[in-house]
């Protein structure tokens, strides 16, 4: 069977062969097979595939190996009061005792993953998560309101780290989730699935900071039922190649989503923020603000898409903004804010800017006696901070991280 799957990938590279081998060692499971097939149809996505043009995984991941110099970032997101789930290349652990309102089901078999062809690296995570004795999918059911935050940490040196988590937030429940991607593994692929039922609320904070050698694909699939409210804030520093992708579907009336992100890329760091929002029900709201700042040798990629289907997408209210600063020559920012609209009574706006800091603002600061370096740092921080405002209790932590990076 794995021979047949191997044939699916044209000219597989060493990394793809390794992924096929890893899949071959896992217990047989029809849904796992289905997920792996979805990945194998195209293999590691590359620049010739629309949607991966600026983030070529096949080129960036010739082999899967432990990085010689893995990232050493400490996790800045506090875990003391949170329920911690820790994923490493050798497996995962979580707190023995859970508060009432949170139930964890570790399923030995993989769960079905819909639309997997559209998310090849999410499908890969679904296919390779778990192991012979370890559960393939971690399912978490949330029923309470006053719950501690769930914190997912992805770290530890090794070749590869695969994880899959499904979170179901029952009607009216409230949840805060945070994730830290700290690198260590040569390749990390995760799939986080969120299902918010009627009136449920969820805030998700993603922090990503790895070394220059790591390749990461963190995929989130989010589904919102009637009146659900989902708020997401991401702070990414990039790696050799990192992609934080969110696919969100408004599936019932009146759902609301906020998808904010900031990326800060230094030399040798590539951060890709990709989102696709499907307005599959009338009168849903999406607000999206992405900010980026990039230094010489860094690359920021932003791809956003609103998809508004015929009839059901009526009265969509969606706004997408991406603003990037190229702080030095040699920085690169690539953006694609996309709209696909089949309903006529909608408001979809998008805006995209990239360039240097506003000269007028700089002048204002300078004439107030602020040194150029400081003025630049202040303005950049203010610029980035706007995208972190929805992060709730974690906003300050993220701001401190952003400020420290800018002060370097």
């Amino acid at each position: 069977m794995s021979t047949a799957l191997r044939d699916l990938i044209a000219n597989p590279n060493a990394a793809e062969l390794e992924l096929i081998a890893r899949y071959g060692m896992l217990p047989e499971d029809a849904r796992r097979e289905r997920a792996f097939e979805a990945f194998a149809k195209g293999g590691l996505p590359h620049r010739r595939v629309e949607g991966w043009h600026w983030s070529d995984f096949k080129a960036s991941l010739p082999v899967i190996e432990t990085p010689a110099q893995p990232g050493t970032a400490q996790d800045p997101l506090p875990a003391d009061d949170a329920v911690l789930f820790s994923f490493t290349p050798t497996g995962f652990t979580w707190a023995e005792s859970l508060p009432e309102g949170i139930r964890v089901l570790a399923k030995p078999e993989a769960q079905a993953f819909g639309a997997s062809e559209d998310m090849p690296l999410g499908a890969l995570a679904a296919a390779l998560a778990g192991g012979k004795t370890k559960p393939g999918t971690l399912m978490i059911e949330v029923t309470g309101q006053d719950l501690p935050r769930l914190h997912f940490r992805f770290s530890g040196a090794g070749e590869a780290n695969f994880a899959r988590v499904q979170i179901i937030v029952r009607p009216g429940a409230k949840l805060a989730v945070s994730e830290s991607y700290l690198g260590g593994a040569g390749f990390t692929a995760s799939l986080m699935e969120f299902s918010l039922q009627a009136g449920a609320e969820c805030s998700r904070t993603v922090y990503q900071r790895t070394g220059k050698a790591e390749v990461l694909a963190a995929t989130a699939a989010v589904q919102l039922d009637e009146g659900a409210d989902y708020r997401q804030t991401t702070l990414a520093f990039g790696g050799k190649l990192t992609r934080l992708e969110t696919r969100l579907t408004h599936q019932e009336t009146g759902a609301k989503a906020t998808l904010n992100a900031a990326y800060l890329c230094a030399d040798g760091h590539h951060a890709d923020i990709t989102t696709e929002v499907r307005h599959g029900a009338p009168s849903c709201v999406t607000r999206q603000l992405t900010k980026g700042a990039v230094l010489d040798g860094g690359r920021g990629v932003y791809q956003g898409k609103f998809f508004v289907p015929r009839n059901v997408g009526q009265k969509t209210d969606a706004d997408m903004q991406h603003n990037a600063l190229l702080l030095e020559e040699g920085a690169e920012v690539f953006a694609k804010p996309e709209l696909e609209i089949y309903a006529d009574n909608v408001e979809c706006a998008h805006g995209n800017t990239s360039g240097a800091l506003d000269a007028n603002q700089m002048f204002y600061m300078r004439q107030r006696g602020i040194a150029e370096e400081e003025a630049r740092a202040l303005l950049t921080e203010a610029f980035i901070a706007e995208a972190l405002e929805e992060a709730g209790e974690l906003e300050d932590v993220l701001r401190v991280q952003a400020r420290a990076w800018l002060a370097r």
Partner: protein
């Protein structure tokens, strides 16, 4: 809101269209006027034609080359392109769907039997002259001078009336080129590309394929192999072309494809304004139009290229219509050169077209102004590429897409700032409007910035374009949307009004188009 309430994208058959409140009634009317039942250029001309053997092979290419009495180098060039084409795959990334094209089902050369180029306008077959007259394109210089409709009644009015030199391309051949003599006096070369190959081989050889190389893309490579006729323009150093130049493309014969090739070279400090019009008869089968247009602007030169594209769009059920798969690219090769594309797109069943500018010269400027209206089952995937290579290069993109009926209208554009493009600037604004709930409007902008000192703005930052104007309008009590609509409309209107009247019939109808109710 949909009268059928169905969810299937392509199966609902209701005829009544409910238009969202707030959409300008004149816009709806303007779009309605462009529905296929109102297509006035859909007649065909009965005339004896000579065809190449049906289908595509090296023999077809040799046939075309021999018909045109081409030199050996050009035949070799065509054959090299053909061999390359055989190894290429048809692109599928555009948001358009059509039945696979059988490239062997077309005639790649069709010309009136009585010969291609005529010594004098009096030798041009009556049927052809009538065809162009019916389309409102005068081929007799005297008529042009007086205006076809006898509009210029006084001598003064005649002097005022703008004159347009026309190259008329009928299927695969150019049948007439007007005002050649007068243009020659100014040093401007204006002739069909077949003639240019014979009369100015050095110029053609120097520039042909330098902007759109043979291997550029599937359709451009096909064109390089089989191109039949098109226009060649050369404006020498320092000359401001004394009149508007234009080519009117008419597809007439059944089962033919039209593969014209246009090459316009503006030497240092020269200026030319060029217009292109296209129509075709209503036919039930799909016809292929795969043209290549290359523009070269040297130091301080300016080329203004305008298109009114009104190929037969197919009937309301999507039967027939032209596949318009065109590669248009301008090369601002010289410093301070400028190329501007203006297009009014109302026709074709499927459009795949991205008129682009390569801003190579320092301080060069690229502009793209587009209005695309789709109706019935039309699909348009169109936009532009602005490739900033030189220092302080500037580009501006204004695109409006209006979808009605069951059509799909996509803006797809690339703005790319190269590492060396110091202080490059781009402004992009694309608006879409949906009329009724069974069509689609899409925007796919790609923005690649590799310069910290570049300034790129897309869409919602409209206010930056004319903050002062907007402020002025706002303080006079206009709402923000109203003010933006007014300003952008005024802007587009200005562009369209520069189109000469003969070519602007369709464009004029669109002047009523409004931004209100725009979806983003």
């Amino acid at each position: 809101m949909d009268c059928c309430g169905g969810t299937d994208e392509h199966e609902d058959d209701c005829t009544e269209v409910t238009v969202k409140e707030g959409i300008d009634a004149k816009t709806v009317e303007a779009a309605k006027a462009l529905e296929s039942e109102n297509y006035s250029a859909g007649f065909s001309t009965a005339i004896d034609m000579e065809f190449s053997p049906k289908g595509l092979s090296e023999d077809t290419i040799r046939f075309i080359s021999a018909k045109k009495e081409e030199p050996e180098w050009l035949l070799d060039w065509r054959l090299a392109a053909y061999r390359r084409w055989l190894t290429m795959e048809e692109p599928t990334w555009a948001k358009v769907r059509y039945e696979p094209i059988d490239y062997q089902a077309y005639y790649y050369y069709a010309a009136p039997k009585s010969g291609a180029k005529y010594e004098s306008i009096d030798d041009v077959p009556k049927e052809i002259l009538e065809t162009y007259e019916k389309l409102g394109i005068p081929l007799r210089e005297a008529e042009v001078l007086l205006g076809v409709e006898g509009a210029a009644e006084t001598a003064a009015a005649a002097r005022e009336a703008p004159r347009v030199a026309v190259d008329a391309v009928f299927d695969s051949v150019s049948v007439a080129t007007t005002f050649r003599k007068e243009l020659e006096k100014a040093g401007v070369i204006f002739m069909s590309i077949s003639e240019a190959v014979r009369e100015h081989p050095e110029l053609v050889k120097k520039y042909l394929g330098t902007v759109v190389p043979q291997s550029d893309n599937f359709f451009a490579t096909l064109n390089s192999a089989v191109f039949s006729d098109g226009t060649f323009v050369y404006v020498p150093k320092g000359v401001r072309c004394p009149m508007e130049l234009s080519t009117y493309f008419r597809m007439n014969a059944e089962n033919t494809g039209q593969f014209e090739r246009t090459l316009i070279v503006c030497d240092e400090g020269a200026y030319v304004s060029y217009l292109e019009g296209c129509t075709a008869p209503m036919r039930d089968e799909n016809q292929l139009h795969a043209a290549v247009v290359e523009l070269v602007a040297l130091d301080d030169a300016e080329i203004k290229y305008s298109t009114v594209q009104n190929w037969w769009p197919g009937d309301e059920d999507g039967k027939g219509g032209i596949y318009n798969f065109v590669t248009k690219r301008g090369d601002c090769r010289g410093a301070r050169s400028k190329i501007s594309w203006t297009q009014v797109e109302t026709g074709s069943a499927v459009t795949w077209k991205y008129p682009s500018c390569i801003l190579r010269g320092d301080d060069s400027v690229g502009e793209f102004y587009s209005i695309a209206v789709t109706n019935g089952r039309q699909q348009a995937d169109t936009g532009t590429k602005m490739i900033h290579l030189g220092k302080r290069t500037k580009s501006r993109i204004i695109s409006k897409g209006i979808s009605a009926g069951k059509s799909d209208n996509t803006y797809r554009g690339l703005v790319s700032i190269n590492k060396r493009a110091e202080k490059a600037r781009n402004f992009t604004q694309c608006d879409s409007l949906l009329i009724g709930g069974r069509c689609g409007a899409h925007t796919v902008p790609y923005v690649e910035n590799r310069r910290a000192d570049a300034q790129l703005e897309h869409e919602a930052t409209t206010t930056k374009l004319s903050e002062d104007q907007l402020f002025y309008a706002r303080q006079r009590g206009l709402g923000e949307e109203q003010a933006v609509a007014l300003l952008v409309n005024g802007f587009v209107r200005e562009v369209l009004q520069e189109l000469p009247m003969e070519f602007a019939v369709e464009a004029q109808k669109l002047l009523e188009v409004s931004l209100e109710g725009s979806v983003g």
